[in-house]
Amino acid sequence: MSAPIEVDIPCDPTQIDHTGLPWAFLDEAAHPDRIMQGAIVITGDADDPVFARVASLTEKSSGVTVHLEILPGDPLDYVEAMRRAHLLTA
């Protein structure tokens, strides 16, 4: 039995703000210490996960806002490319 999908930080990839980027709250992250500028993370949700790059973290009174740059394609596309290049077994 496979483990349930756990995204690094949940967000609605269509929920943008004035930056044009989707955003999330840091305290909703599974492991907030992994969420740093430039980090590659899984976001969206377990039903439709996507890769993203953390663009910025901004301290606000409502909490730390994390802006995310959604990366193109399906996460499994990246896995397949890595398999082809033997990066997963190297």
Binding site: P10, C11, D12, P13, T14, Q15, I16, D17, H18, G20, W23, A24, F25, E28, G44, D45, D47, D48, V50, K60, S61, S62, G63, T65, I70, P72, G73, D74, L76, D77, E80
Partner: protein
């Protein structure tokens, strides 16, 4: 209570016509997801001085058709559902033109489950987004 941002500062001067514009919501299409997203928005933003329960939608306003929405702002979504501006407005839901077109916020009053279910009943059954394809 925290100091949320006022969405009023990010509104465009735009009123989409009832009959011509399609409202597209990216998946997953589920009441639980609408609530989660509306509550996140309300934590961060106010509208007219009150917490802003809303979900993001894309509209086929000038320069955008369904294909360009699915290939653009919704390209990361595996599924989507459709309604019209007239349908959601007639049911009492308002649409705010926020940030850059074609983005809108669809306002909910409470962000509660029954309201999210009522909103979802105004949308089509979920369809697959043909522009999110796994490469082979």
């Amino acid at each position: 209570m925290n100091d949320r941002e006022r969405i009023d500062e990010y509104l465009r001067d735009e009123v989409p016509p009832d009959d011509a514009v399609v409202v597209v919501r990216g998946g997953p299409i589920a009441a639980e997801k609408l609530i989660e997203h509306a509550q996140r928005q309300a934590r961060g933003y106010t509208y007219r001085g009150e917490p802003m329960f809303s979900i993001s939608v894309s509209l086929t306003v000038t320069g955008w058709d369904l294909a360009s929405l699915l290939a653009g702002p919704l390209s990361s979504r595996s599924t989507y559902a459709l309604s019209t501006v007239g349908t959601v407005r007639a049911a009492g839901f308002d649409l705010l033109p926020t940030y850059e077109a074609p983005h809108y916020d669809l306002l909910l009053e409470t962000g509660e489950y029954s309201e999210a279910e009522r909103l979802l009943s105004l949308f089509s059954a979920p369809e697959s987004n043909p522009y999110k394809r796994r490469g082979r």
